[in-house]
């Protein structure tokens, strides 16, 4: 995966932190918001650490 794609995904993840809760999940009654933020953090972590470990 090239660097530009990594950046796009990373920026998208951060934007989702703001947009998904306020557009979709503001009034949830279950663990949807909890799980969403955890999921986004996992994606950010996996993408970033994968990119980091590939660097030489």
């Amino acid at each position: 995966m090239n660097r530009l794609l990594y950046r796009i995904i990373q920026v998208a993840v951060i934007l989702c932190f703001y947009l998904v809760p306020y557009l979709l999940l503001a009034e949830v009654k279950g663990f949807e918001l909890f799980a969403t933020w955890i999921g986004l953090t996992v994606i950010a972590g996996v993408m970033s650490l994968f990119e980091l470990w590939k660097k030489r």
Binding site: F17, P21, E27, K29, L33
Partner: protein, 479 residues
Amino acid sequence: MVRVEFTVLLGLHILAGTLLALISRKYFTRNLRDYYTTSSRLGALLSAGTYAATTYSAFMMVGLVGMTYATGVGALGFELLYLASTVILLSTIGYRIWMLSREYKWIAPSQMLRDLYNSNALSLIVAAIYLFAMIPYLAAQIQGLRAMFSYGGLGSAEATVISAILVYLWIFIAGMWSVALTDTYQGFLMLTGGLLYLCWALHHAPASGVSSAELFRVLSSNGYLGLTSFWSFTTFLAYTLPWAFFAVTNPQVIVRLYVPRDERAYKKSVTYFYFYGFLYTLIVVLIGLVAAGLALRGVIPQGMQWDSVTPYLLNSMHPLLGSFIAVTVIAAAVSTANSIVLAVSGSVVSLLTRRTLTLARTIDAVLVAASAIVALMGVGFIVDLSVLTSVILLPLAPVTILGVYKHNRTSKVKAHFAIMSLIIGVGLGTYYALVLGPRRAFREVVSGLPISAWILLVSGLVLLVGYTIEAIRKRPTTL
């Protein structure tokens, strides 16, 4: 009345930390680069341990628990956004900073910016900004421990003196070596304390007649699993923006990018830090949610001040457990405070031509003493200013990011505009702090955006103008 369990555990903690600090002396070569950065000789575990313990202060077990208790799951989004953006920054610009630090052998972030922009004036201004922003933050750390010492039956004067001595002692012994080793030990304590706190909370609920199902039901029906009214979009933005750029604005974490000994150690340390941060955040937020549920069911009081929740719950525990957790909170504050002292002192020392270890240690002592005096005097405005520390440092984000990525093409124009962007950005934050008071300034919305967003936009724009002017100047003219 002094709590015996607390005194004994605190004494054991001080003894253990001091022994570890003394052990680290055998690695200390007594030159300034070693004092501030271990001459980039730290392995992955210590690099990660010191980064984690420096980043995560007493705010987690006291402030974040209270924030979650009061505002619900929105606090998780706030804290996880910090972690997500930090792991992104550490994997990108952080890696570059680590590589460059091996070439330039920096001891402080202000020195880094001096070299990236080829400007002594810039490093002077950055060091001044660090002093302005970080002393209130240091004072707030020391003052914030009063509640934990009060749990142990000790007064605010004793709390301040013990905290200040502890902060200074573990720096004095071997600089970054003793700080990194004690940080890693304290990071382990913090996680252990968090896990025990959570286990207690999960046990306390059913023991008080509130099952897990009932906890979930009451949190859900009261909107705590969604965005409560506290978390308007602008409030969420106000809280998250300064923390999203924390890894490239706060000197105590930037300097920790200089310490890993090789590429593998750097990569492993970022990985370890990520997992630690994830686990610690989840633990703390779950504690806060359980506390919120217990409050809604009337087991504990509702409407407590955020910082009062943990002290209240500690008093509900067995004194040995409560004392252990209180000591881990002290560990969290001390590990953050001494890292800040070392980083700010490094920024001051790097400005001087005559640099000695004695001078470095003297500056450390002055910083600790100044913060302790501010904390003891209870100068409200100064301590409140700590709330704005990361906002005041925000203009450093674009300056650092562009500086690192464009460091091969320095120019006076870029340096001047970097200085202007810092002065304007910090000036804006200070203006609103004076006019509105720091706490109100932090959440104030101006034309639909929080002040932190304006600071970032304005200072970033000023810097970009400088880069654009330079690009136009350097454009080859056609003949």
